[in-house]
Symmetry: C2
């Protein structure tokens, strides 16, 4: 394990402290807990909250700020935060307009958020949730896919609408519309290493890749022979395009590095993806390339397509001023 860290047991806390110090104009910590909130909360808007395990940097702390999130609850690496912490966050940023929790679809996260929301409602706080499930693999019957990189686009679009002073019902609706319009698939050429154990999350030969990985170090749905960027991208795109009718529609394309993927490779992937989408009559309105939702130092990438309509496009284009995303 060749990580540039100090004590493996301190990585989350040092990361969180370092993140706040990097952006102390926008961020502050709520008391002693790993609840990060905006320096300047706006009492006249729906407050947006998300959370989950750490290890996905810059998600989600990096998306706190104007036009995106108000609070993030940060758990240990790949571990859901407890309900009481989520309740404290809801309580800290609540407004008369209400609070919307954006929850990634993992049983731990969903359970913690549901319990916290119940606690908050029993105190008379107006709060609701949406569940992001953009991953097209690992669809567990009616539970749907996991929440992965597409979550950032839910932050972006719901956050932009919340900033206009829209009511909770409308912000929830547009978040759900975004969720219904966004699909993601990921692959990895190498695993991540959980700091506390020092062990890789799976073993992969030099000739192999994992297709359909998530963002918690889990292996994919299929182990395949390592091939070219173009062949890998085509296989992933075909699966995404089969999920929704993207044809003759504008999309936001996100090519997301999973932690240690060189940017050069993401641009090479983009060349193929843009041409292939064009051949399939899908119009790329905007392209995001970078590390938006990572899995510590996993090498690999995910492809996300968000199908736009006029309203989603408007909020996608609205001003966002956060550490990790500016518009």
């Amino acid at each position: 394990m060749k990580k540039i860290i100090n004590d493996p047991l301190d990585v989350e806390q040092e990361m969180i402290d370092g993140f706040i110090l990097a952006d102390s104009k926008r961020l502050k910590k709520l008391g002693d807990q790993n609840i990060i909130i905006r320096q300047k909360l706006n009492p006249n808007k729906v407050a947006l909250i998300t959370g989950g395990g750490s290890g996905h940097e810059p998600a989600h702390i990096g998306y706190i700020g104007f036009g995106m999130l108000d609070a993030v609850i940060v758990g240990s690496i790949f571990t859901s935060p407890p309900p009481k912490m989520i309740f404290d966050a809801i309580n800290a940023v609540k407004t008369d307009k209400g609070v919307l929790c954006i929850v990634k679809n993992y049983s731990g996260d969903v359970m913690s958020f549901e319990m916290a929301i119940e606690m908050a409602r029993s105190k008379g706080i107006k709060v609701d949730k949406v569940i992001v499930k953009d991953d097209i693999v690992n669809q567990i019957s009616e539970i749907g896919g996991r929440g992965v990189a597409g979550t950032v686009l839910v932050h972006k679009i719901a956050g932009a609408m919340a900033e206009t002073g829209a009511d909770l019902k409308s912000v929830k609706e547009i978040a759900e519309r975004t969720i219904n319009h966004v699909r993601t698939m990921g692959m990895a050429v190498s695993p991540c290493i959980i700091p506390a154990s020092g062990l890789p999350s799976f073993e992969l030969a030099n000739s192999e890749i994992e297709i359909g990985i998530g963002i918690h170090g889990e292996p994919g749905i299929q182990r395949e022979k390592f091939t070219t960027a173009n062949e890998i991208s085509k296989k992933m795109l075909d699966k995404i395009l089969a999920c929704l009718n993207y044809s003759k529609n504008e999309v936001v394309l996100m090519i997301n590095g999973l932690g240690s993927t060189p940017l050069m490779e993401l641009f090479i992937i983009n060349k193929f993806v843009q041409n292939y989408l064009q051949k399939n009559d899908v119009e790329v309105y905007d392209t995001m390339i970078g590390n938006f939702m990572t899995s510590i130092e996993m090498a690999g990438f995910s492809l996300t397509l968000l199908k736009l309509d006029e309203e989603l496009k408007k909020y996608y284009n609205s001003t966002a001023d956060t550490f990790a995303l500016k518009k």
Copy 2:
């Protein structure tokens, strides 16, 4: 070699094509050459040009746009572009106000740019250059250090002033002031792999790190025992702080990932760096953390400190609208 690419010999071209497709609102290619220019050139400002080998993504293409660069000449991986290409770029973006070339201090780059500038001047084009040498190691007598991540801050500040319509002399002066005020040092825990050869640029045991590396895969000035993030950062900061009198001054701090460094590690490093700078009476005005100037998939980071004055701060804060940096 487990790179997500197609033919190793096509990586530069596919990367460049993919980059332009990712940002076709801002970027276009000049003819068939790997000269990338702004879609909308402004004839009423000094044009800013840079260039060099590829492998440093998002540098430099990602810094083309309002408030930063007008043209970038992209060579093969880690290879200077030929003078004729640089001349063509100068000729394509020249304005009555003049052209300023921002050159990283490598003998190949400097020679190519000097020859191109001579060709341009012989055609009556008003053109000048500055040489960035922010790396505090590998100072070769009067030639000075290599140009590394601090170059991005030169793009930022000179680009912001150029946008105001300032004359060539003033833009050159502020670029040189930035160069005189910026210092960088880098380290690596693993090398990069040149695609064409498939070989690592150096061999490093699991217990070793390279201190004082550059951005072309070369080993550092010293091989040391792998230790903690804090000890590594302290050693690097002490060397940087010894170069300039940063005490009681505001600085921009850049913590730059070299290609495959997880963001989590950069934030952990930041925690120590912020505290250590405070102890040394250096006030961090702003912090940049991310992959700004990489070395393909090298794992490691560089630390950059830019000593601010009121004018540098003003231009640092000015609007920039590029793929890789927005202000």
